[in-house]
């Protein structure tokens, strides 16, 4: 855990919070008496994804991040459902005892929006960093393409086969070294530097038989069910918190969505501000932490 990266500050405090019987790992930066900002990381990530952004926000706020169930140092449940991730986020917010600003990246942005729509009294202002849902199936990315050739019932057949065989496995394809773990991640997220990914891997992996694995539950990797991307935006009409919607200017593995789709989705948000971080892709808080923090701090200034 002695890995370092320029500007990265690991959390100053750690605590555990029980939600739905699971132990969640909560990490904090900044003055505990300051107004709170809660950070929600993306799929396959963990709290250290905010080690660059959080210290910049901590100059004015109590910054609280937590590892989503199945991620980082939080416990692994027996099964997954989007709604229980929302309940976890609502529980972390309620536990603070006062309404908080919420910042979510990628999947964490979707969770932030749904949590704010689900429990509007808990959320003051909402910042979403390129987390506006997957593209419609007609614009599916390479991970979704695999599913398109199959009917809905066949997808469940595959999932049931996988549950029969794989759901009890704890690790999938461990990397022999941390370096290899970082390199594999760079294939998925080519805009992230190997230097950052080494830091990220050192803080978010665990030794397993055969090498190292991300601190991530393989069971979380195969959601199943009737969810459709077109369900996302209509729910945003329930938001009471003003939203700052941030994308990076550069095309990246996970985004941004084609502008006409993004604009249509965001048209459902009652109070919206949009911003773009120049020279960054999907991980703008890692590629351009100062610019991203400035946008967030300016947005929260008037709150």
């Amino acid at each position: 855990m002695d890995a370092t990266y320029p500007g990265a500050v690991p959390p100053e405090r750690h605590r555990a919070l029980s939600s739905l019987g699971l132990r969640l790992h909560v990490a904090e930066w900044g003055d505990p008496a300051a107004p709170p900002v809660v950070l929600l990381h993306g799929f396959y990530d963990h709290v250290h994804a905010f080690d660059l952004l959080a210290p910049l926000l901590a100059e004015r706020f109590r910054v609280v991040a937590f590892d989503a169930r199945g991620h980082g140092e939080s416990e692994w449940p027996d099964a997954y459902a989007w709604q229980t991730d929302v309940l976890d986020a609502a529980h972390v917010l309620r536990d603070l005892g006062r309404p908080a600003h919420v910042v979510g990246h990628s999947r964490g942005g979707g969770l932030a929006s749904d949590t704010a729509a689900f429990q509007p009294d808990l959320v003051r202002h909402l910042v979403v960093l390129d987390g506006f849902g997957p593209p419609p199936l007609s614009h599916a990315n390479f991970l979704q393409q695999r599913r398109l050739g199959k009917g809905t019932a066949e997808q469940l057949t595959d999932w049931l086969d996988w549950r029969r065989s794989a759901a009890r496995r704890r690790n999938f394809q461990p990397a022999p070294t941390l370096e290899e773990l970082a390199r594999r991640r760079q294939v998925q997220n080519p805009r992230l530097s190997l230097e950052w990914l080494r830091y990220f891997a050192a803080h978010g992996s665990r030794p397993v038989k055969g090498g190292f694995a991300w601190s991530f539950d393989p069971l979380a990797s195969r959601p199943i069910g009737p969810f459709r991307p077109e369900w996302i935006a209509p729910g945003w009409r329930r938001l009471r918190a003003p939203m700052l919607a941030v994308i990076g200017s550069e095309p990246d593995t996970w985004g941004p969505l084609p502008e006409e789709i993004l604009a249509e989705r965001l048209s459902h948000v009652p109070v919206l501000t949009r911003a773009t971080v120049a020279g960054a892709g999907h991980f703008m808080h890692i590629e351009k932490p100062h610019e991203t923090a400035r946008l967030i701090l300016d947005f929260l200034e008037g709150a």
Binding site: E75, D78, A79, G151, T152, T157, L160, G225, W231
Partner: protein, 223 residues
């Protein structure tokens, strides 16, 4: 009763009747249990297996409360694997929906599924965003309340998620189309949107809502 591993949790499978003849797998309604089928079992000429879904009866409460019909389908799938060979399935309420999923995903193993009205999946509609603001608030408050408790009349309170889960009609329809044979127990009452969609499939037959009459049809009438 035996315990079967379903992923990381275990489910209880009960042998209600052990007789020569075809196998019937019984799937109970929301907040029900295997023994709900005890009175019906003698009416079936063969082996009768009844499952306690996760969070119900003698089955484990999966850690973390993430109940979905697909998770219950994976519970039923391990029971199907255990039963081996051709199986007929009867399901009530959420168990009927799970029977539909299983019949569509395992058409070679599920000879026919008999769906009966009952508790579960009645509050979700086709999409979450169809709920009006008041219904949404009630749902949210009830879930938060459920999350704070660990027991509810022998069930995991989080099974409440199975009541409001959104179930679009075309999703149900794809399973109905893949199924070998569906018997829909009709009593003239209004049925959920997904049920209406299943009724349109070529595999679907209207059947009596009286379970004994329906089981007779399930045994004899589908061949």
């Amino acid at each position: 009763m035996i315990k079967l591993a379903s992923g990381r949790h275990e489910v209880a499978l009960h042998l209600l009747r052990d007789d020569a003849g075809p196998t019937l797998l019984c799937l109970h309604a929301l907040r029900g249990r295997a023994s709900d089928f005890a009175e019906l079992a003698p009416a079936w000429p063969g082996r009768v297996l009844a499952l306690d879904f996760a969070g119900h009866g003698s089955s484990d409460h999966p850690r973390g409360g993430s109940y979905t019909p697909e998770l219950l389908a994976s519970d039923a799938d391990v029971a199907l694997a255990h039963a081996s060979g051709e199986v007929r399935v009867v399901g009530v309420g959420v168990g009927a929906y799970v029977a539909l999923l299983l019949a569509g995903a395992r058409p070679a193993a599920v000879r026919a599924a008999y769906l009966l009205p009952g508790a579960g999946l009645e509050g979700g509609g086709a999409t979450r965003s169809q709920l009006d603001a008041e219904a949404w608030r009630r749902e949210a408050d009830a879930l938060v309340d459920a999350a704070a408790h660990r027991e509810d009349a022998g069930c995991d309170p989080m099974v409440r998620l199975l009541d409001g889960d959104a179930r679009p009609p075309d999703y149900a329809r794809s399973f109905a189309d893949a199924a070998t044979k569906l018997l829909l127990g009709e009593d003239g009452s209004l049925r959920p949107i997904w049920w209406e969609a299943a009724r349109e499939a070529a595999s679907a037959l209207r059947a009596p809502a009286d379970p004994r009459a329906g089981l007779t049809l399930l045994r004899a009438g589908v061949d």
